[in-house]
Symmetry: C2
Subunit: 145 residues, 2 copies
DNA sequence: GGCTTATCTACAATGAGTGTTGAAAAACAA
DNA sequence: TTGTTTTTCAACACTCATTGTAGATAAGCC
């Protein structure tokens, strides 16, 4: 994701207006590696702007997604999560206990589909979700004696 | 997934009662490769039993999932989908146009996470979602001249 | 058949996300 | 700076998948 200043330029260049609410959201997302939900972004934004509405957050997240500055992903935690990292190709680690999501920066070039297994699909991309326990949940669930 | 008869035994062996509604759902799921949603299972079941309720379908699907006879998956189509194929290890093909889901039966043994990239997660499984266009949507969207 | 317990249906409720609308603010030109 | 146009804002109502509740019903077992 670009910096808040660059995003301001980008929004204006695309005929979108730049409001204090939007800049607040740009700042909140900057450097966030937690893959926040819209609700989480809103909570963080409210700390800076008490009156910002959840609807505005959804709208701005969709705008950023349309412009390719963040990506939205559904890893089965019940809500759509947003990832400001669109520069490194990567996959995702999901904690099966607390739902935490992190980037796994690696490419897997050997993901060739065996002949005939694709059932005629014209496959364009592959997303891998690695499920397991995050470091915090490991120590919570298996306390060392 | 086991046959309806085997599922009847399994349910009883686990202290669950077997009703006409449940057996109807067993039959509906048998051999279904479409990864139906609860709603879709309900629609099919209603053709046999007009009065079966959606709640009952959800409950039975959860029971089957707990017993390991089907698996539930969220591939981002807006509802949870159910897969009676729990015997072959496989991944999923998802049509980005119509939302169709199919099994891709293949194992990818080279899915080793580079040292340090796992961020301390204790990874237990990896699910791959291949996105593209199904054969039907290919011909709909790119009609051959 | 009768008793106990799980399951069924109907209905209300939840929670993430979207549509609507008048008010407010951004962009831009004079 | 002010005026004009157009977008965006906030509040609210709404949708839709899924879950909770409760009294009626039926399965399983003697």
């Amino acid at each position: 994701m670009k910096t808040p200043e660059e995003l301001t330029e980008l929004f204006r260049a695309n005929g979108r207006k730049v409001t204090a609410q939007r800049q607040c959201i740009f700042r909140v997302l900057q450097g966030d590696v937690s893959h926040p939900s819209a609700e989480a972004v809103h909570s963080a934004a409210v700390r800076e702007m008490e009156t910002i509405s959840l609807k505005t957050v959804y709208q701005t997240l969709h705008d950023l997604s349309e412009l390719g500055e963040i990506s939205s992903l559904d890893v089965g935690t019940g809500m759509i999560r947003f990832d400001p990292n669109v520069d490194d190709p990567h996959h995702h680690l999901v904690c099966r206990h607390c739902g935490k999501v992190r980037d796994l920066v690696a490419s897997f070039p050997d993901l060739k589909i065996p002949r005939g297994a694709d059932l005629g699909f014209d496959v364009g991309s592959a997303e891998i979700v690695f499920r397991g326990l995050c470091p915090e949940c490991q120590s919570t669930l298996q306390p060392s004696p």
